[in-house]
């Protein structure tokens, strides 16, 4: 009986240690994940030079799409983004295009592709924005999905197909 109690105490000690260690790891990971996931409140300028902070779109499911006019996969993806904005905008999707380019070609493509969402423009600030949002390649297109509360939900490099885009935003719309 004494030996049984001794083992029971030992087991309880082990269990407590495991629970404590697990809780500590969980807390550590939660802290790290929270820091890593919250989007920085970056500021970009639109085609008229007006500044916009990302927090302007808090409360929406924000899809940031980094692109350039010399990037064919970007131009191929934009009509799908236009379609998604039209269809899911009323349910809380907000797409914002961020072009690493000059104003004139971006303006021309905005008209040509009928872009129905805001476009930001820049060069160094666009690349540093991509970097701040977790990009590792510095290539286009690069997209980031941000929850209404500012958490970064996902990132992807390369053009998305219509199905991939729908899968990406499906179930994350606020309305």
């Amino acid at each position: 009986m004494k030996r049984r109690e001794l083992f029971a105490v030992l087991a309880l000690c082990l269990l407590s240690a495991a629970a404590g260690f697990g809780a500590w790891r969980w807390w550590q990971v939660q802290q790290a994940a929270e820091l890593a996931q919250q989007r920085p409140d970056l500021e970009f300028r639109d085609l008229d030079g007006k500044p916009h902070k990302l927090s302007e779109w808090d409360g929406k499911l924000l899809l940031l799409n980094f692109w350039a006019t010399w990037c064919t996969p970007c131009l191929k993806e934009i009509p799908l983004l236009v379609e998604a904005q039209r269809e899911f905008g009323p349910r809380g999707l907000q797409i914002v295009g961020l072009a690493m380019d000059q104003r004139d070609p971006v303006e021309a493509f905005r008209t040509r592709l009928g872009i129905n969402y805001p476009i930001m423009l820049g060069e160094v600030d666009i690349i540093s924005g991509m970097d701040a949002l977790g990009d590792e390649l510095g290539a286009f297109p690069f997209s980031v999905l941000i929850a209404p509360d500012g958490r970064i939900l996902d990132r992807t490099s390369g053009g998305l197909s219509r199905e991939e885009l729908r899968d990406w935003i499906d179930g994350k719309l606020p309305m």
Binding site: A11, A18, T72, G134, I152, S157, G159
Partner: protein
């Protein structure tokens, strides 16, 4: 040993060990899922996609610039640029571009591209001596739907 340690205590120890292992692994795997990338192709960093080789001084008056291009990646012919950086007396002639492959681009029409390997011979003034440096600009994409911004590299060769 089986007769010494009671089975209840053995079970308790076993469960504690399982709990300890779960405590160590579960939080990490949960965090992995939070920042996952969308499923899709994995792309190479630009310098692995287009591996530029050291500048070669092939013979008097000819420099050779070459790239190893990864499978399923390509460089645009019309986005290649070669400019003399140093010395100030260095003058480059028209680069000898090898035959390229036609590529139908839905936005830019008929383009010319290079795959696998690209070697460009660039003539320069024969009186240039010592160390020369050339700035090379290039731009390319991946077939799976990604384009890298225009790249510039300054390469040196000496004799």
């Amino acid at each position: 040993m089986r007769g010494v340690i009671p089975s209840e205590a053995r079970n308790l120890v076993r469960r504690s060990l399982v709990a300890a292992l779960l405590g160590m692994t579960l939080p990490a795997s949960a965090a992995d899922g939070l920042l996952k990338k969308a499923d899709g192709p994995q792309f190479l960093p630009v310098d692995q996609a287009f591996e530029i080789q050291p500048l070669e001084w092939r013979e008097d008056g000819v420099l050779e610039v070459s790239w190893r291009i990864a499978k399923d990646y390509y460089l645009y012919r019309d986005r290649l640029r070669f400019t003399a950086s140093a010395p100030a007396s260095l003058k480059l002639g028209a680069p000898a571009l090898p035959p390229s492959l036609p590529y139908e681009d839905e936005h830019f029409g008929q383009m010319q591209i290079y795959r696998d390997r690209l070697v460009v011979r660039v003539p320069f003034n024969k009186d240039a001596k010592g160390k020369v440096s050339v700035t090379v600009a290039y731009q390319g994409c991946a077939d799976a739907g990604l384009c890298y911004p225009p790249q510039t590299r300054t390469l040196e060769a000496g004799r």
